[in-house]
Structures are given as C-alpha cells and as structure tokens.
C-alpha cells in the first residue's frame, strides 16, 4: 500500500464498493464519490456507466431534473451515494434539522432526493468524511430517510455500507446495525468507537482499510483527478499530482 491521504483512500474504497455495478449515479456536491465512480469506470474498461449530476461530460440524462429519479424507479441505477447531517446506528439519515423542527438549533439544507433514492437504489453507499459523535449519533433528530422499512414496504434499495474518514462499516438490515469492517491508517477499533455516537457490531477480524495500490493511486492523482475537474474545478487542484 502506498502512502496516501484520507480523501484518496476514500476514493479508492468507494470505487471498490461500486465494484462491477453497471450504472452508478452521483448527486450534486459529491466530488469524492464522483472520483470513485470515474475510478471504477476506468477499472472496468468503461463498462461501468457513470451519471454524475454536476457533470456535463459524464451525464447522459436529457430529460430534466426528474430523470435521475425516474431512472432509479425503473431499476436502472445500481449504486448511489448519500450522506447526512446526522446518521444514526440504524442507518437513518437526517438532512433537515436538529432540535424542534419548528425552531431548530441546526438547520441543514434539506432532504434532497434521499427519501426516495434510499428506497429505490439497490446499493446506497453512505459517505461522510467527518467521523464524530456530532454526525454519527445514537438517534437522528429528524428522519429524512429511514435506514430500514417494515417488510410490507416496497423497498428494493437501502444502505450497503458507511464510509467515513476513519473507518468502513457494512450494514445488516435484519439486525438494523452497522458492523465495523476496517479502520483507516492511524485508527483502531477503540478510536473509532470513541468517535462514534452509536453502537455498532464489529467484524470477527477488523482489518486495516486497504489503500490504493500504486497504479490505482496514479490513476486517482492523474486521469481521475483531471477528469473530475470538469465537474468540480475547485477539487481537481486538490488531487492532481501527476
């Protein structure tokens, strides 16, 4: 494993989580998932289709704002990324507010498409770089999108994993619980537990999150970083090194 920054590690891990999906969509304001999608596409020889809302080049939608959602409703999107102002141990997401919604202490921008895409996209990957008790809470103050649903609720989709700047969790929807799979360089199960506001399961063997191999890191710092510049000019500079 090469020495790399946490954001570069996240790009590599998210790309692995995308795996061999045939269509991955990336919402607005998601440069790291966007880079991960481009990396996964590159690794698949172009077979992974990427629809990135911020991009013109990597965005085949032509039917206006509803097309992403309709496309997901048709079952044509395999992977999407969501985050949240708060995420709790049952994978509930809060993108609205903290405290009494009528007079909240904190107001986030709003739910965007989370309340829909969390249900309709088979593999939703949760990504939030900040890993703190403020974000990873025991119980969200407002449920924008629930992590699980009763059996009778139509729900082909849901959370598959949670990646932060400290660790990678998988999600077990029957137990309604995250499981710590690996910790990033410099972290331990204990430091992760301290930074996490919710209870979680741990894998029998919590590994160190594998970073990108040198070839992958070159891709991230080279073609992928340059390519993301089209959609996120301010981000490219942060990554381009070669």
């Amino acid at each position: 494993m090469s020495a790399c920054r946490t954001d570069e590690l996240c790009v590599a891990v998210l790309a692995r989580l995308i795996g061999d999906a045939s269509h991955v969509a990336v919402g607005n304001a998601s440069p790291i998932p966007g880079m991960a999608a481009l990396l996964a596409q590159s690794g698949s020889g172009g077979r992974v289709r990427v629809s990135m809302l911020n991009s013109r080049r990597h965005n085949a939608f032509t039917d206006g704002g509803r097309e992403l959602f309709d496309c997901a409703g048709q079952g044509r999107i395999d992977v999407f990324f969501l985050g949240g102002g708060e995420i709790d141990g049952e994978a509930n997401l809060n993108l609205v507010s903290v405290g009494d919604p009528e007079r909240p202490e904190v107001r986030f921008p709003g739910s965007f498409g989370s309340a829909y895409l969390y249900f309709t996209v088979p593999r939703v990957i949760l990504f939030r770089e900040e890993h703190s008790p403020r974000v990873l809470v025991p119980k969200v103050s407002f449920v924008s999108a629930p992590g699980t649903s009763p059996d009778n609720v139509y729900r082909p989709g849901g959370p598959a994993a949670l990646l932060t700047g400290k660790a990678l969790f998988s999600f077990n929807k029957n137990k309604k619980q995250f499981r710590l799979e690996s910790v990033h360089p410099g972290e331990t199960v204990d430091t992760v537990r301290q930074a996490t506001g919710f209870e979680f399961d741990t894998a029998d063997e919590v590994t160190n999150t594998p970073g990108p191999d040198p070839e992958t890191l070159d891709l991230i710092r080279g073609p992928v970083a340059r390519e993301i510049g089209e959609a996120y000019p301010q981000y490219a500079a942060r990554f381009v090194r070669i």
Binding site: A29, R103, P109, F112, Y154
Partner: protein, 275 residues
C-alpha cells in the same frame, strides 16, 4: 403568433406576480431569474409562496432576506459549494418561515400531476420519513393494485406563476430550454409562466425541428422580458460562468442581517443599472 408576449422589462414581469402568489422557481444550477428577482424585491413583493423545483439557493435566500416570502416548499435550500443559505437558515431557526420540506422526486411528481390535470400522483419511497408527519397535505393509502402495500400520494402542484430565465426566445414567444425539461413541466403545471431571456431572436423556433425539440411553445408563456445577464451572479449554461467572488461574498456577508442588506443594495443597484 404575435409579439404580444414580449413586455418591456423584468419590472413588468415582477408586476404580474401578485403578493400572495405561489411562485415556482428553478434550482440554482438552471436558469435562475435573478434580474426578475431583483425587480420583485424592488416592487416590495410580499407573502410569496415559493415552490423550489426541486431545490433553490441564492434566489430563495434573497427573497427571504428581503421579506418577500410567506412559505417555501423545497427539497433543499443551500448555496451549494458556497455553503448554507444564511437567510433561509436564519428564518427557519427563528421560526418565521412556513417551511414545507419535501424531497426532489416528490416535487417533480406533484408538478407532473399538475401538468396532467390529475389531483394527485403516487410516489414510491419516503414512507417512514419524518417528512410525511409534517406534510398534512400528503396522504398514504394502500395501493389499490396491491395488498398491504402502502404508498404515498402527493397532491398536484399548480403554482400560480412559474418564473425562470432562459437563453433565447423567438418573437412569437417560444422559449428554447434544451434539456432543462424541469422548466417545461413547471410551465405546463403553472397557471401562468413568465420568462426573462438573454436575447429575443427573429427565427421561428418551431420551424426548425431540431430547435423545436428543446422549445417550450408560446402557448404556455404569458410574458417574456429581455434581461441580458439575467441570471448573474449565478451562471447560465453555455453563456456565462457564475461570478464566484460575489457568491463567496454573499455566503459570508449574508450571515448577518446588516451584511445581507449591504450585499442586497449593491445587487439591486447593479440590476437597476442594466434594467
């Protein structure tokens, strides 16, 4: 048919938006009518009921900060990479804005119901979200085609007015929107549509089948006003980039009421100068 649709300026558009109207507006990345928004603020519009299609940013924050807004339906409000929308956030925290939180596909679907003239539209997902408890206008029913299969129904949205900015109109009032088809649905669903444009050209957009494919017909357009730079300081795809420095300034200054007032004064002065 005629050039009756062309009116003298964005002031005339603003004059056609009554206090208390429900007003559909586009997301920050698409055709934001900021010159017309300045005109609305200048005419002291009050009690607007904004419908963001499906999100909004600077436009909504300006209207809230200037005291024009009674209620807001949106899936999100933010300045995107520039940060939270300060006047929106402040108004919510002070409890002075009637907020109808929604989710993007719900707003699209409700407008499609308006477009089709049906009273509601079903939508998958959302069940179990706290959004539902705060939306007494939404209903959950058992899918009549299923069994023990709850599904959300959204009442149709038919805003009084749709307002947006576009690159080009022809003299008949046809407006080219290209792939921005959320604006087409918005115009179909709204009772009246007002558009500011960068330019008004002599071609007939409907005569060229390639242009026509991206054109909103004049049939849906009540009035068009020429407003070059009408989306600035936001960008307009293919025409100009966002003025990032002014947006950074806004995100910083609008955190206080005073700073907002100073930014707004400058904005209104700039817009008045070109109007």
């Amino acid at each position: 048919m005629t050039t009756e649709a062309v009116v003298p300026g964005v002031g005339e558009l603003a004059a056609r938006i009554e206090d208390g109207a429900s007003l559909a507006i586009p997301p920050d990345y698409s055709n934001v009518p900021l010159a017309a928004t300045a005109a609305l603020i200048r005419r002291n519009a009050r009690d607007l009921n904004l419908v963001a299609v499906p999100t909004s940013g600077l436009q909504t924050d300006l209207l809230i900060g200037a005291g024009c807004v009674a209620s807001l339906e949106a899936a999100a409000v933010s300045l995107g990479e520039f940060g939270p929308a300060p006047r929106f956030t402040d108004a919510i925290r002070r409890g002075v804005l009637a907020m109808k939180d929604s989710t993007c596909p719900a707003i699209h679907a409700a407008l499609q119901a308006g477009e089709k003239g049906v009273p509601f539209m079903p939508l998958r997902g959302v069940l179990g979200s706290d959004l539902i408890g705060r939306r007494p206008d939404w209903r959950v029913i058992d899918n009549p085609f299923g069994e023990n299969d709850p599904i959300l129904l959204l009442p149709a949205l038919r805003p009084d007015v749709a307002l947006f900015h576009a690159r080009r109109a022809d003299r008949a009032g046809n407006v080219w929107l290209g792939q921005r088809r959320e604006l087409v649905i918005m115009a179909h669903a709204a009772r009246r549509t007002l558009v500011s444009v960068e330019e008004i050209v002599d071609d007939d957009f409907l005569a060229d089948e390639v242009i026509a494919a991206g054109t909103l017909p004049a049939l849906y357009v009540e009035a068009i006003a020429l407003a070059p730079g009408g989306a600035q300081p936001l960008g307009l795809e293919g025409v100009y980039e966002a003025d990032r420095a002014r947006l950074v300034d806004y995100a910083e200054m609008a955190r206080s009421a005073d700073g907002f007032a100073r930014w707004l004064d400058h904005f209104l002065a700039t817009k008045a100068a070109v109007a």
